[in-house]
């Protein structure tokens, strides 16, 4: 098992994501610099949170042109697992690896709170059977308001691509959507931070279960270990 965490200029949850996998799950984890063009051996690529390139222009809009993103895209097209957290989710949407877009929170303010999330039965390993009906994860973003056209939304629902929804919508997201996956089921994006829910003093330890759920799409043993 080999986890690669991408570092962009302005990534600031890179260490958090690294620690979630390295200490929370005890898996070999390493960083990949944005100027690289190759990922090397990886079983999961994590695109972490932060403010890549200052989030100037639009969140994630510049990061998607980083040299490493070509490699990340190739990796996902070959079926590799990719997880985007917060800014990482925004980047994956900008890169066209996930459908929809994330715009300014409807309250027009940044929100850092811990949210109850309703897990959907979205298939493979990311479902209520594995994660339970409710999880609790922190959010911290100014642009987490998920938007997609009606046809796109219908498709997400039909394909079971919605991973989780906010119980109390903090940002105006359409349908309370907090996280989605692609149609193929190997690219995941979520605004909530599993990388802030794994230490004993965190608001919950659900981040570990979420990380396992993503990995267990390819490595089902991980779920059994957590159960």
């Amino acid at each position: 098992m080999n986890i690669a965490v991408v570092q962009f200029p302005g990534s600031n949850c890179d260490q958090d994501a690294f620690q979630l996998f390295a200490t929370g799950l005890d898996l070999p984890t390493r960083f990949v610099w944005h100027k690289e063009t190759k990922l090397g051996d990886a079983d999961l690529v994590v695109v972490p949170g932060g403010f890549s390139y200052g989030d100037y222009l639009r969140c994630g809009a510049i990061a998607r042109f980083s040299p490493i993103m070509g490699a990340v895209k190739d990796f996902s097209e070959k079926g590799g697992l990719v997880l985007g957290i917060c800014n990482g989710f925004q980047i994956l949407c900008e890169a066209g690896m996930l459908p929809g877009a994330l715009i300014r929170n409807s309250c027009l303010e940044f929100r850092c709170v811990t949210c109850d999330l309703a897990v959907e039965d979205a298939g493979t390993a990311f479902n209520t059977r594995v994660l339970g009906r409710r999880i609790r994860l922190p959010i911290a973003h100014g642009e987490g308001n998920y938007r997609i056209d009606d046809a796109g939304k219908a498709q997400l629902e039909a394909n079971g691509q919605i991973l989780m929804r906010y119980v109390d919508n903090p940002n105006g997201s359409m349908g309370g959507i907090a996280g989605i996956r692609n149609e193929e089921g190997n690219v995941f994006g979520m605004m909530p931070h599993p990388d802030r829910a794994f230490e004993r003093f965190h608001p919950s330890s659900d981040g570990i279960a979420v990380a396992r759920a993503v990995l267990s799409v390819r490595y089902p043993d991980l779920v059994r270990k957590s159960a």
Binding site: P9, D16, S106, F110
Partner: protein, 772 residues
């Protein structure tokens, strides 16, 4: 020493004659100008005049406060060989550093950005955060947390709303992007800050002892680098601007407010820490904060006992045609000056190329003791570095006890025939106090700050102190941090008010299970040339110094912000203190919220009995009068030592100190945790000459603790033995109501209703029309 006259400058602006008007415009007094000429042995150039004006302003020189600040203890008497030693003292460098054991240390400091925030709240507050972060990583430390201390006018005022919204958004914008969690703070709303808000920002960083870096230019011929953002015309003379009173014309000074780029700062942090990790490369480093390139060059030269020569044509510039005066006085953000070992230029250049940042070679270290600046081949400034720093003027200002103190200090409720509360009055007063923005939940504010990034925040905002886990190599340590200062007390009794700021801050830390370690202070006062203001300043400093000595909590750094006045007058004196405490074991971490029904509530310190200076008097009676509550340092120490011993013994389930709003506010706040609990409290047995003073008075040295029923007697017995008054005042109940028996009869509140007012008060005031 006589200087050679400088060559005439072909630029007519730079070459203009220095007139008395020009001197005055630069905020220099005629006698100060005489000193400038004496230091130079000639008349200064315009560039030099600008340099002197910014370096000799209060913000950089502390000319009016230096003698006072000497009274602060800067060393920890009880430090041991491997814990608590002050490694870098206050005033030596950009921030003080204190040993936390195992070869690790913390650097922390608070700094104000009041004036810029009054004019341009968003950028003013944002750059305040950026500036204090640079002060910390300059020392070689990785910034791991931020807090802030804010003061505004009454929340009803549209100006306050605009300022609050802007300041909070600015802090959020910068701190969130740069990836350092804003874990706590304190906020007060009082008329005296109307139009002159206070924005004090603190940053704390961690480092190994061997990573400590100094802002000193040493080694003849060593290259001087400029790294980070390019220089523009923003923030021209910002430090000097901050050393004036605010007036109706202040908005014309808007160009003196800088614009921040947190993304650039994030890159700068990473690049600088990476560069400093290369052994032996960096000789000295200093950020360009107040007074920009001027301050960083002359201070490093002066500290290093060396000289420095810089060539402005090499300075990265954002706009063309900037003259030397503008470049030297610009306060463009996110810039650093770095002196590296000669011959290793390529190493620094490689690091900055990796991060796509400027690293421009702008000068060299000399042995002349002078700061020499050239532009377009012409010397534009040539000044002895010491004249700008150590030899800046120092003043002993006149001080006079303000006349209002006679009236306020002698006020008593009895003397003024203030009617005591009846039960209906008590019933009405509690929700009003809880929803006063100074007491109410600050959720509206802290939910806009990323307070969890770096995944180390243990106690989130909203409790007595923030608690953060520090990862130090392979070990981890827990620290608590708290800010405090009630300006109302300092107005009514400056010395006592300052003592209270300290003891209350320490009490907050102890309530969290921490042993106080060291403090940083931000002295926010009015114009020191007014003797009444200077009296307040002097008294407050002496109060802080006394408390620091008594509790052996050294001052490791701080900031002075004077001229906090608006046309309505000076602010209440506000010596903000921020203390860092150390938590021995994770299980000692204690919160203010009770977790289960059945716990007993024990009041430590005795029944409150004073009304002077209370929030109750202000909110219910519209009075800012009386003497500040009494402080007994010995009793306070006994209380804090006792509380800490009980927390360590595992008996304390929750602890909350009495502060604004007194006993009932404290008890109510303990019920606002996750469980929907209530409390049944009996105060009828406590001595109470006045009911209002018992319920809402702000007598110091009081804490309410929640204790398991089986431990209550043991805790009370231990308190008696320790000489700490302890009264079992009631129990936590399943029923979500707060019922209180008083000598005048019972009174009851629905906790949900109280909580609603407390939680949503600021939110409802700040609601934007049409937005959910």
């Amino acid at each position: 020493m006589k200087s050679v006259p400088l060559p005439a400058n072909p630029d007519p602006v730079l070459n203009q004659a220095i007139t008395p008007e020009l001197v005055k415009k630069h905020g220099l007094r005629p006698e100060e100008y005489e000193q400038v000429c004496a230091h130079l042995g000639r008349v200064p150039t315009l560039t030099e005049l600008g340099i002197f004006s910014v370096m000799w302003c209060e913000h950089c020189s502390y000319k009016n406060t230096r003698p006072l600040l000497k009274g602060f203890p800067t060393e920890k008497v009880g430090a041991t060989e491997n814990f608590g030693r002050v490694l870098v003292k206050a005033g030596e460098e950009n921030a003080g550093i204190i040993d936390v054991g195992d070869g690790w240390a913390i650097a922390f400091k608070i700094e104000s950005h009041n004036h810029p925030s009054a004019i341009e709240p968003f950028e003013g507050a944002a750059t305040g955060v950026g500036g204090i972060i640079r002060d910390i990583f300059t020392m070689g430390a990785r910034p791991v947390l931020l807090t802030n201390s804010l003061r505004f006018g009454e929340l009803e005022s549209p100006t306050t709303k605009r300022l609050l919204r802007g300041v909070v958004a600015g802090i959020a914008h910068y701190g969130n992007c740069v990836g350092v969690p804003t874990v706590g703070g304190d906020v007060y709303f009082d008329r005296s800050y109307e139009g002159n808000p206070l924005v004090n920002a603190l940053c704390l960083g961690t480092l190994r002892h061997d990573q400590i870096r100094r802002g000193a230019a040493k080694g003849l011929g060593n290259p001087v680098y400029y790294v980070g953002a390019a220089t523009g015309r923003d923030g021209l003379g910002g430090a000097a601007f901050a050393s004036k009173e605010l007036s109706a014309e202040s908005s014309a000074d808007r160009p003196a407010v800088q614009k921040g780029d947190p993304f650039m700062e994030k890159l700068l942090i990473e690049a600088c820490l990476e560069m400093m990790a290369i052994p032996g490369l960096v000789v000295g480093i200093q950020d360009m904060g107040a007074a920009g390139l001027t301050c960083s060059t002359c201070e490093t030269a002066s500290r290093g006992g060396a000289g420095i020569e810089i060539e402005l044509d090499q300075v990265p510039q954002r706009e063309s045609g900037m003259n030397s005066y503008e470049i030297m006085l610009s306060e463009s953000q996110e810039r650093m000056l770095v002196i590296v070992q000669k011959g290793r230029e390529s190493e620094i250049e490689q690091v900055f190329a990796k991060w796509d940042l400027h690293a421009a070679l702008v000068g060299t270290v000399t042995d002349t003791g002078r700061m020499v600046v050239t532009q377009h081949g012409i010397v534009v400034a040539d000044i002895p570095a010491g004249a700008l720093t150590d030899n800046a003027p120092v003043y002993h200002r006149d001080s006079k006890r303000p006349a209002y103190l006679d009236a306020t200090a002698s006020w008593t409720p009895h003397g003024s025939s203030l009617p005591d509360l009846d039960l209906a009055g008590a019933k009405a007063a509690l929700p009003r106090l809880l929803s006063h923005p100074t007491i109410a939940s600050k959720r509206w504010i802290y939910r806009q700050y990323d307070h969890m990034v770096q995944h180390g925040t243990v106690v989130l905002p909203g409790s007595d102190s923030a608690v953060v886990r520090l990862k130090l190599g392979n070990t981890e340590k827990f620290i608590a941090i708290s800010n405090d200062c009630n300006g109302r007390y300092c107005y009514l009794n400056p010395k006592r008010g300052a003592l209270i700021a300290m003891v209350e801050c320490l009490r907050n830390l102890v309530c969290s299970g921490a042993t106080p370690l060291a403090m940083t202070d931000n002295l926010n006062f009015g114009n020191p040339y007014k003797p009444e203001n200077f009296y307040q300043l002097k008294e407050c400093v002496s109060g802080l110094a006394e408390a620091c000595r008594f509790f052996d909590v050294p001052v490791v750094g701080g900031n002075v912000s004077l001229y906090n006045e608006s046309p309505e007058g000076a602010i209440d004196p506000t010596p903000t203190v921020s203390v860092v405490g150390f938590i021995e074991k994770e299980e000692h971490i204690t919160r203010q919220f009770v977790k289960a029904a059945g716990l007993h509530l024990v009041l430590l310190g005795g029944a409150p009995h004073e009304l002077g200076g209370s929030q109750f008097l202000g909110t219910i009676h519209g009075l800012k009068t009386g003497d500040a509550p009494a402080v007994d340092l010995g009793a306070e120490k006994k209380l804090q030592d006792f509380l800490l011993s009980q927390i360590r013994s595992g008996r304390v389930g929750a602890a909350h100190d009495l502060s604004e709003g007194g006993l009932l506010v404290a008890v109510a706040e303990m019920l606002f945790g996750a469980g929907r609990l209530g409390a049944s409290v009996d105060l009828s047995v406590l001595p109470a000459p006045r009911l209002d003073a018992l319920l809402f008075g702000e007598s110091q040295g009081r804490v309410v603790v929640a204790v398991a029923p089986e431990d209550t007697q043991a805790l009370i017995a231990a308190a008696k033995a320790a000489g700490v008054p302890a009264d079992d005042i009631g129990t936590v109940t399943e029923t979500p109501s707060l019922s209180v028996r008083t000598a005048r009869g019972p009174v009851e509140w629905d906790v949900g209703g109280l909580r609603m007012g407390w939680e949503t008060s600021i939110e409802s005031a700040m609601k934007r029309p049409g937005i959910a």
